[in-house]
């Protein structure tokens, strides 16, 4: 296949795939030598990766894929809210708030504060890397201690620890306000987060 045709074909394959395709796979499908595929992709990169486009060709795990530019992420999330949003169930949010303000805590302490078993919520939060186990409490049974993880800061968009409000100040505010402003509806419909 001559270069221009190969380039066209690779564009079509990458667009239709939406995920990474290996060089060998492209070579097999297009009946070309891997070297030719690589050359064609390098030429395509020159065209697509200028920053003028909303998508670019990226090498991922030994293959290539088309990715969207980071500056377009906000619009993609608006188009597919489930793609980049972590939604927590009300109980997971409760557990997270306890860990945030009481860390380090044990699971037993969380259960005691909430009055219900929090195992499922802790598992969800761990899975999403919002919290981590770190160290053990010097107490009978040496229970594991739970803390907020670094990822928490990214997910909640906090730059600085001083961005975390003092719950006391908010509690003062909400005493004067009629109702604490919590988006119950958003939390309720979303027991677990989407992929």
């Amino acid at each position: 296949m001559e270069t221009a045709e190969l380039k066209k074909t690779i564009e079509a394959l990458l667009f239709i795939s939406g995920k990474a395709i290996s060089k060998d796979r492209i070579a097999t499908v297009t009946d070309s030598r891997p070297v030719a595929v690589e050359d064609a992709i390098n030429e395509l990169k020159l065209e697509w990766n200028s920053g003028r486009h909303g998508v670019f060709i990226e090498e991922i795990g030994g293959g290539w894929q088309i990715s969207t530019r980071p500056e377009c992420a906000d619009y993609i999330i608006k188009l597919y809210p489930w793609k980049g949003v972590l939604r927590l169930s009300p109980s997971a949010a409760e557990v997270l708030s306890i860990i945030l303000y009481k860390q380090p805590v044990t699971k037993a302490q969380i259960n005691e504060i909430r009055g219900v078993d929090s195992q499922a919520s802790v598992a969800t939060l761990l899975k999403n890397s919002l919290i981590k186990y770190s160290g053990r409490k010097k107490a009978p049974g040496n229970p594991r201690l739970i803390r907020i993880s670094e990822n928490f800061y990214h997910i909640f968009g906090i730059r600085d620890i001083s961005d975390i409000p003092s719950w006391k100040d908010l509690a003062e505010d909400s005493r004067s306000a009629e109702e604490p402003e919590i988006d119950e509806t958003a939390a309720e419909e979303t027991a677990q987060e989407d992929e």
Binding site: G18, E94, I98, G115, E150, W167, P180
Partner: protein, 264 residues
């Protein structure tokens, strides 16, 4: 696709051997017969059509996909034909006229469906080589929380206000010097040389940097690391003291106690 040859029924001389697709259903056959006889669809000659229809299904009973439907049409045609032979005043004759009109309606509708079918088939052929992705692309976006930290604080505030629990002083989020020391030790265990700027960058907050300084000083004090700076305002390098690091000191909690630094 099965092909059948014109079953030899009397048609115009123009198409003695007409190859046609096998009839989809009784309406298909009926319409074909009407067109072959150049008959007005609004005024079907029932007796002529009925005999041709019956002749066809008799000779092609094995080609027909759904014989029940073809037979139902046959009996309808026979009923209309015989009722129309009764005097015009009879109820049966009037009923047959209604049925004939209804059949015309159905055939007209059928013609339109067939025309649309042809349009769709040709559009389909034109586009059979065009593809798109039907699913959204698999991309990784960094997840953002739907909840804000303010909402988290509020949730915590409400838990506290329930009043079941007496808390000792709540100080807010904390960074423990033990944690930082432990992390530093883990990283230098491999003999890695750490740059202070790199460490500070992973959590660029005043509090963390302050604790980091304390942690590094603590480790220096314990002779577990050495620090080096080429000249003022350049980066500080933290190097393991190898003999000490490989010793068992390293797995111990370096400094105990409840010393922590919080924003409360």
């Amino acid at each position: 696709m099965k092909k059948v040859v014109n079953p030899g029924i009397p048609v115009g001389a123009k198409d003695y051997f007409v190859k046609i697709d096998v009839f989809e259903g009784p309406l298909d056959l009926l319409l074909w017969l009407i067109q072959n006889n150049n008959m007005d669809i609004y005024d079907i000659e029932i007796s002529k059509i009925t005999s041709q229809y019956l002749a066809f299904i008799n000779t092609h009973e094995f080609d027909i996909d759904s014989p029940a439907e073809f037979l139902a049409m046959a009996s309808l045609l026979i009923r209309i034909k015989s009722s129309l032979m009764l005097p015009k005043e009879t109820e049966e004759h009037q009923l047959a006229l209604d049925e004939k009109r209804a059949l015309t309606e159905k055939l007209l509708e059928w013609k339109k469906i067939k025309a649309s079918r042809e349009i769709l088939l040709s559009k389909f052929r034109e586009r059979k080589n065009l593809f798109r992705r039907d699913e959204p692309a698999a991309i990784e976006l960094e997840k953002k929380s739907a909840l804000s930290v303010f909402e988290l604080a509020d949730i915590f505030g409400r838990i506290i206000k329930k009043g079941f629990h007496k808390f000792e002083e709540i100080t807010g989020p904390e960074i423990y010097i033990e944690d930082v020391i432990k992390e530093l030790l883990e990283r230098i265990r491999s003999g890695e040389e750490l740059k202070f700027s790199q460490l500070a960058f992973q959590n660029p907050t005043k509090l963390y940097v302050a604790v980091l300084v304390l942690a590094v000083l603590e480790l220096t004090n314990k002779k577990l690391v050495t620090i080096k700076q080429a000249r003022p305002f350049t980066d500080i390098y933290i190097k393991p003291v190898l003999s000490a690091v490989s010793g068992k000191n390293i797995t111990e909690q370096p400094s105990g106690g409840e010393s922590f630094y919080g924003n409360g």
